[in-house]
């Protein structure tokens, strides 16, 4: 299977931003996963809504707590 177009620019961006070079062929191969992840995130566009406080995760843990607890 052909390597997705995003792989080379992603490697460049990682090197520029983080100073980390691609460590092995498996790391390069794994970047191909990003196509699926980007597609999944694209599907979520439009879902973001304004959240009133307390919107944080710890507040949600308390709010959703098992009533037996």
């Amino acid at each position: 299977m052909a390597e997705p177009k995003l792989v080379l620019p992603t490697m460049d961006a990682i090197r520029s931003w983080h100073g980390v070079s691609v460590p092995n062929p498996a790391a390069r191969h794994a970047l191909a996963d990003f196509e699926g992840l980007i597609a999944a995130l694209e599907e979520l566009r439009g879902d973001l809504v304004f959240e009133d406080e307390p919107a944080g995760f710890e507040a949600a843990l308390q709010a959703c707590k098992d009533q037996e607890a």
Binding site: V20, A26, L37, E51, D66, A69
Partner: protein
């Protein structure tokens, strides 16, 4: 009792037998050493065995009991723990070459609590390097091997914990769970593994993988064991401000065996995508068992799951990459191939998406609970969609082509880390190759008592958790 008979006791059975004076701590430690001598070469679950210290601790426990001293809930019980729980002045390798000689200055809160309860620490267990693979491969200490069949994965990252409990080396072990690292080895080795609610157990003195998703919990034989173990390690710790202040209930008291009129939601379709037939059949049989016990089961399809699945792929990968950045610049060759490959991708995930994933975590937890846990007490899914894979077919170091199979293993466990829900995997079947199949159950935040009650009721009715791979 012979060592092999002693090693068949569960953690609570061993602790209770010790408390009643029916067994000695020395006998229990010797049973551990006997089983290790007999079977460890087939499993490779141990990194460091503290034989003399364990025998000395056993002698002290026997002496204390003999003098009438009050003993803890786990007194006399030998344990081994994943090698990422720090004990001051003892090496904690984290399963890595980079930390092969790392000597922490602190002792993990959970180890202090187990010590105080009288558990006997016999050493440390093999694990995925820096707790970052779902299979049990380890390039530095050797792969941990499944006690049911050495060609197959143990599951990871708490590979040694799953294997050592299944092999009857110990009755319980600490694991950690960021994307399934307790539940996957529990499912693949045929033991019980509990990931508590996020914040339920303090993390001081525990190697970090992901600030947001790391959890501490036990792998053991039974839900009853998990209940007692959790009761010992849970609760707030002043040195860990992220630990919840919730009171710790008596989890064992909740194990009534009665789940009549309990409502169970089977969540579709995500957890059943591409499911292998033996796993699907075992899950259906488990559901029938729960129904026979009086539970009502319905199928739900939460709309929130799509976002939960997408975001859960982001958070721990970005945080893991951040934690390892300096070593990735300077010592990338000291990581196993699959680990540096996994970390590498984390640097390319945009900060805006990472923050989006974190900021939506609370709202999505509320939405999921509304959709799947309002009107229902428990969510049930298979722990894995596939049968236990072989070590060869998930070995990314041997071939990058195995990447997809490796990454797909945690598809059913990872969403519950993002949601922070308490989740347990219990043995619920056996596939056509003779390897275990796990049933995953989840409850609302801090609903461990309810979760354990269902798991315990299931285990009163079945014997999958009693099967010994190395009789």
């Amino acid at each position: 009792m012979s060592p092999d008979v002693l090693s068949e006791l569960s953690m609570t059975e061993a602790a209770d037998a010790f408390a009643r004076g029916e067994v000695t701590a020395k006998g229990l430690v010797e049973a551990t050493l006997h089983r290790l001598a007999k079977h460890e070469p087939k499993v490779n679950s141990v990194i460091r065995l503290d034989r003399e210290e364990a025998l000395l601790a056993a002698h002290a426990a026997d002496k204390a009991r003999g003098s009438g001293k009050a003993m803890g809930k786990l007194a006399g019980v030998p344990m081994l723990h994943k090698d990422m729980y720090y004990r001051a002045d003892r090496v904690s390798t984290c399963g890595s070459k980079i930390r092969r000689d790392f000597v922490p200055k602190v002792t993990a809160t959970v180890l202090q609590r187990l010590d105080a309860a009288g558990a006997i620490d016999c050493g440390t267990l093999n694990m995925a390097e820096f707790a970052q693979n779902p299979t049990g491969h380890n390039a530095h200490f050797g792969d941990c091997m499944n006690p049911w069949n050495a060609a197959y994965c143990t599951g990871g990252s708490s590979s040694g914990s799953g294997a050592a409990v299944a092999a009857r080396f110990v009755t319980a072990a600490l694991g950690s769970d960021t994307g399934g690292s307790i539940r996957l080895p529990a499912a693949m080795c045929g033991v019980t593994g509990l990931k508590p609610t996020q914040t339920r157990v303090p993390r001081t003195g525990v190697m970090a993988l992901s600030f947001s998703a790391d959890n501490v919990g036990p792998l053991c034989r039974t839900a009853k064991d998990a209940a007692r173990f959790l009761g010992v390690i849970a609760g707030p710790c002043p040195s860990d401000p992220t630990s919840a202040r919730e009171a710790v209930p008596d989890y064992e008291a909740a194990l009534t065996g009665d789940i009549r009129s309990l409502r169970i939601a089977v969540v579709e379709p995500w957890f059943f995508d591409d499911i292998e037939e033996p796993v699907g059949k075992a899950f259906e049989a488990a559901v029938v068992t729960l129904q026979r016990l009086g539970a009502r089961v319905e199928i739900v399809n939460p709309a929130s799951l799509k976002a939960v699945a997408a975001y859960s792929a982001l958070v721990s990968r970005v945080e893991g990459a951040t934690i390892h950045a300096q070593w990735m610049r300077e010592r990338a060759g000291d990581y196993a191939t699959h680990l540096s490959a996994r970390l590498y991708g984390g640097y390319a995930m945009p900060a805006t998406f990472y923050l989006e994933a974190l900021s939506r975590r609370g709202p999505l937890l509320r939405q999921f609970c509304e959709e799947a846990l309002t009107g229902y007490d428990i969510v049930a899914t298979p722990s894995l969609r596939s049968r236990v894979p072989t070590r060869a077919e998930t070995d990314v170091d041997a071939s990058p082509e195995n990447w997809d199979r490796l990454m797909s293993l945690s598809a059913n466990t990872r969403p519950f880390n993002y949601l922070g829900l308490p989740t347990i995997s219990i043995p619920a079947g056996c596939d056509d190759r003779g390897l275990p199949i796990g049933l995953q159950l989840a409850a609302r935040p801090f609903g461990e008592a309810r979760l354990l009650r269902v798991a315990d009721a299931f285990q009163r009715e079945t014997d999958w958790h009693k099967r010994n791979p190395l009789p």
